[in-house]
């Protein structure tokens, strides 16, 4: 403490320790929080095609098209002071003969701090292809759509939360064959 440098050193060291303690406090105030939120998913249209899957085994695979509505108000319980952004994603889960659990991400969205957190989306098309690795989509009676989110925090763990409220839809028995264009 007798020279400028040693004084600056002790000042920096102490401030850093205090900042670390505050960050830990920020983590501990939000660590045991329930970040689940009711989500309302409604599927308005389902279409099924049987097309060539060039990425896979070079056979015809099932390709689903889903048009959905999504509404959720994620502001109050989720966006606390330990959240930088949310990564929302809509995933489809279903069982086929070959796999007991298939998970396909259909759509996602990043919500930054300060953005509008009231989701109210109508007639959304999926962002990514809903390809099955075989013919498991046709006549599949139980395909569950769930909205989940990753919470990106300032400090601490990176929780993965599934929104409460999912919807199960049956897929059609027949392929769409008529070309609409």
């Amino acid at each position: 403490m007798n020279t400028v440098l040693s004084r600056a050193n002790s000042l920096f060291a102490f401030s850093l320790s205090v900042m670390a303690a505050l960050t830990f406090g920020c983590f501990i105030t939000t660590a045991f929080k329930d970040r689940r939120v009711p989500v309302d998913i409604h599927v308005s249209k389902v279409m099924l095609k049987n097309v060539d899957d060039f990425t896979g085994p070079r056979e015809r695979s099932d390709l689903g098209f889903i048009t959905f509505d999504l509404s959720a108000d994620i502001l109050p319980p989720i966006f606390d002071w330990n959240v930088k952004q949310l990564f929302l994603y809509l995933s489809a889960e279903y069982a086929t003969k070959s796999n007991s659990l298939n998970q396909v991400v259909l759509w996602d969205k990043i919500v930054l701090r300060g953005e509008n957190t009231k989701l109210n989306l109508r007639d959304m098309k999926s962002k990514y292809f809903f390809f099955d690795d075989g013919n498991g989509l046709r006549a599949n009676k139980n395909i569950t759509l769930t909205l989940s989110w990753n919470v990106v925090p300032n400090a601490g763990i990176l929780p993965l939360v599934a929104g409460s409220g999912h919807v199960s839809i049956p897929f059609p028995e027949t392929y769409e064959t008529t070309k609409s264009y």
Partner: protein, 95 residues
């Protein structure tokens, strides 16, 4: 030449250092407390950081000195009458 050297403080001001340390620690702890509560209320951790940084900036400014009170110069042995005491009073000025 000599007065330049004499103007450089060479003694250790331990009490002043201790006081300075306690003051800056107090300032940072208080600003940390304020920042934590404020950030918690408005749900913005960034403001907590800003307030702690503001508290960090305050002790960067002043330099605290605790003046030492020296014992008054003792009169030297009678052989050298007047020169030495004057020098020691000169020294005293810079403490």
């Amino acid at each position: 030449m000599l007065p330049i050297f004499k103007s450089i403080p060479t003694h250790m001001d331990y009490k002043g250092q201790k006081l300075a340390e306690q003051i800056f620690q107090g300032i940072i702890l208080i600003s940390a407390g304020i920042g934590f509560v404020y950030g918690l209320i408005i749900e913005q951790f960034g403001w907590t950081v800003y307030i702690v940084l503001a508290g960090f900036a305050i002790p960067c400014a002043p330099k605290i000195r605790n003046p030492l009170s020296w014992q008054p110069a003792l009169p030297e042995s009678t052989a050298e009458p007047s020169q030495k005491p004057q020098e020691s009073t000169k020294k005293k000025k810079h403490k």
